[in-house]
Symmetry: C2
Subunit: 434 residues, 2 copies
């Protein structure tokens, strides 16, 4: 099937957001949502209460099987495409492309319970609540999970949603290999998730993703809900520095070509770029290796990856130019060679302002404090935004911790976010974008 994309959309009445047939806001079943979260978290457990369900592993397969079972239990039409994306759509509800919710259930190796899983399992809870409530919808709801959002085992991240929207060919994705040389295609076959549906898939009417913030801003500001305005552009620059290996005791400082010193200066420069630019600009060097990495040897080589992000692409390009200027300056002063190359780049994504407005007004209607904010992390919703109106709902992450077993969001906040998602998508499915 290929749903017809509805063309130009217009938000008719944000104030009508989420009201059911009787003008009441709907409420999800909190304990049922939490039970599904805990049940899924029992698959691939790691010490500290987190999960390791790297994409296309046995644990990922087991998680997929469980979620597909739940999808079928809700009477949804479950389809699997050639890259393993799973889409479950309501049947006999309304017509046309569905309002889709979703996220991913793969994790990083040291993942928490919430990242991705919350968006998928809340999508099921929203559909179950909608069914139980008897609310009348003009178009069906859908719940999806996309393959390999994390990209920890197979680059790039957001692989499944990229294939779904045509941003990456299935052939390219299939041939990607992990560190052991196993390919996406072979691993999909092995776990039985190379499905029959073609990629790219049909565009939904709209797409909304609930996700934990994975940052500290909502908690710091005492806010319950984030109405996500877009996703920061991401620029990853791999920097390879070549100096001269020398004895740390016998080489006068003036005769050194120290790749380690150059790397240290670049780390400091990245912080300076972010501080001086301000705004949404962030910069990080989280990955850094010296060679030969010996106490008493001036490093011959250093390799690091600079992570720059900004919500504005012009500003992001400005940060990239400043980074290159810093590498040039450091290369000259330490007489080292510095090669740079982009290893990843995503332009900033701006979510559909009507969806952002709907999320914000829905939260307010539910009596929840809400702020507009960009996402610093990449999400499937930014990929779906290429083919349909899209948006996201954030809930707070305690201490901003994510990709860590200590990842935690208060149950009340999980339920609050689920209720925002529920009433947002019900509004969308009742025709408020037209």
């Amino acid at each position: 099937m290929r749903w017809q994309f509805p063309g130009g959309l217009r938000l008719a009445s944000p104030s009508m957001a989420g009201f059911d047939g009787d003008g009441q806001l709907l409420e999800i079943n909190g304990p049922r949502l939490l039970q599904r979260l805990w049940d899924l978290a029992e698959i691939g457990p790691i010490p500290g209460g987190g999960n390791n369900r790297l994409a296309l592993t046995d644990a990922d397969k087991e998680g997929r099987d469980l979620v597909v079972t739940w999808m079928r239990d809700l009477g949804l039409d479950v389809s699997i495409d050639t890259i393993g994306n799973v889409v479950a759509v309501q049947t006999d509800v309304g017509e046309g492309p569905p309002v889709m919710m979703g996220s991913h259930i793969d994790t990083v190796a040291t993942g928490g319970k919430y990242d991705g899983n919350l968006g998928v399992l809340t999508a099921l809870e929203v559909i179950e609540t909608a069914i139980e409530s008897g609310v009348e919808l003009d178009r069906p709801l859908a719940a999806a999970f996309f393959t390999n959002e994390e990209g920890s085992r197979f680059p790039p991240d957001m692989m499944g949603s990229l294939c779904y929207t045509g941003g990456l060919t299935v052939e390219e994705a299939m041939s990607t290999t992990d560190a052991d040389g196993k390919s996406v295609g072979d691993e999909l076959d092995r776990i039985g998730y190379r499905g029959p549906m073609p990629c790219p898939g049909p565009a939904p009417y709209a797409f909304v993703e609930l996700h934990i913030e994975q940052g500290p801003v909502l908690e710091r500001d005492g806010m319950r809900i984030g109405a996500v305005t877009g996703v920061q552009g991401i620029s990853w620059t791999e920097v390879n520095i070549t100096g001269q290996s020398n004895h740390a005791g016998t080489t006068p400082m003036s005769m050194r070509r120290d790749a380690g010193l150059a790397a240290g200066e670049l780390v400091v420069a990245v912080r300076r770029i972010a501080d001086e630019m301000g705004g949404t600009q962030v910069g990080t060097v989280g990955a850094l290796r010296l060679h030969p990495d010996l106490v008493n040897v001036v490093a011959a080589r250093a390799k690091l990856i600079v992570d720059l992000r900004n919500t504005d692409d012009d500003d992001l390009q400005s940060a990239e130019r400043r980074l290159l200027a810093e590498t040039k300056r450091i290369a000259e002063s330490e007489e080292v060679e510095i090669d740079t190359k982009w290893v990843a780049r995503f332009e900033p994504v701006v979510f559909d302002p009507r969806v952002v407005e709907l999320v914000e007004s829905t939260a307010s209607a539910l009596g929840l404090s809400v702020r507009r904010m960009p996402s610093g992390a990449g999400h499937d919703a930014q990929i779906l935004a290429e083919v349909c109106p899209a948006g996201m709902v954030f809930v707070p992450s305690v201490k901003g911790i994510s990709h860590n077993p200590a990842e935690f969001t208060e149950p009340d906040d999980l339920v609050a976010g689920a209720n925002v998602l529920l009433n947002t998508v019900v509004a969308l499915a009742r025709g408020h974008l037209s």
Copy 2:
């Protein structure tokens, strides 16, 4: 046996250095020295022309066996002590403690042909030349190689000479384990080099070590010989930085506690300390690790080791104080915890000025350009300096490269250094220190 230490020494006549019975300077057999170097280098070869004979491995045993065979072929009395140091002494020559030459034949994993080996094999060549020349000596010559000078497999470095002079107990050395948990004692037994002679061993009359510079100074200055005045003090400080792991995209710069940034600042600070202090002060961060070392995660932890060296202990302590002040400053500004601990510390060693003078005058008498210089690297001679007058002869290292298969010294320089060693020890063995 325990040679009696001769007490107060005095250089009677440096101008008489090295003259044989007929007043002529002696000359070693260059091709014979080079042949032994190449023969030993055939054991434990690695790509690029270097050697891997880590201490107490099969390759180390094979190297030891070869050198012991050569020692016995020269008619020397070979003794092995409990830590595996091998000392070969002339019999029926003079009396009293010998003038000892030596170094080590273990290498780092990526070692060259010359580091250590040159000093040991030249000692054999010097003894062979002395025998052939018929020069009359008042005391015997000795050639030694000490166990595990590099310390690459088992810390600390200079283990064998430390045990020989009583700076480290044999019990402590024996129980040291490598990364696989194998102990020095077990490995000594395995390769058959736990000998019967006790440690500490008898003090020689004097000790002189020929070694490659392992630095670029002689080559830069166009000098053939270094008369080594002493060894820089070495201070290794392990620095453990604990920050907060966070998402690189979602965490505002102002809320970060970035262990990687703190590490980068410390790398830059170490360079600044060395530059501002000047003189012989050097500072290096060659070993640095981030955790979790992921592109998009603000580092939770960083571990690095700072290598500080100075020929003056007051200055070295000043550098250490500045390092601690920098860690305190960085810890406060980035709100990270920084723990520091010494993992190694050797005070500067000053070689006996009479030996330094003798090396210098001998080189001049041979028509070789010579400069006094400190050693930036640690050597067995600095340990022997605790128990007897000691000194060293340096020859140039091309481009200062060492601990690398590309380590190279011109054959002419090897022979020149060997001739300096020969005539220096002959002078010492003919009573010029009394």
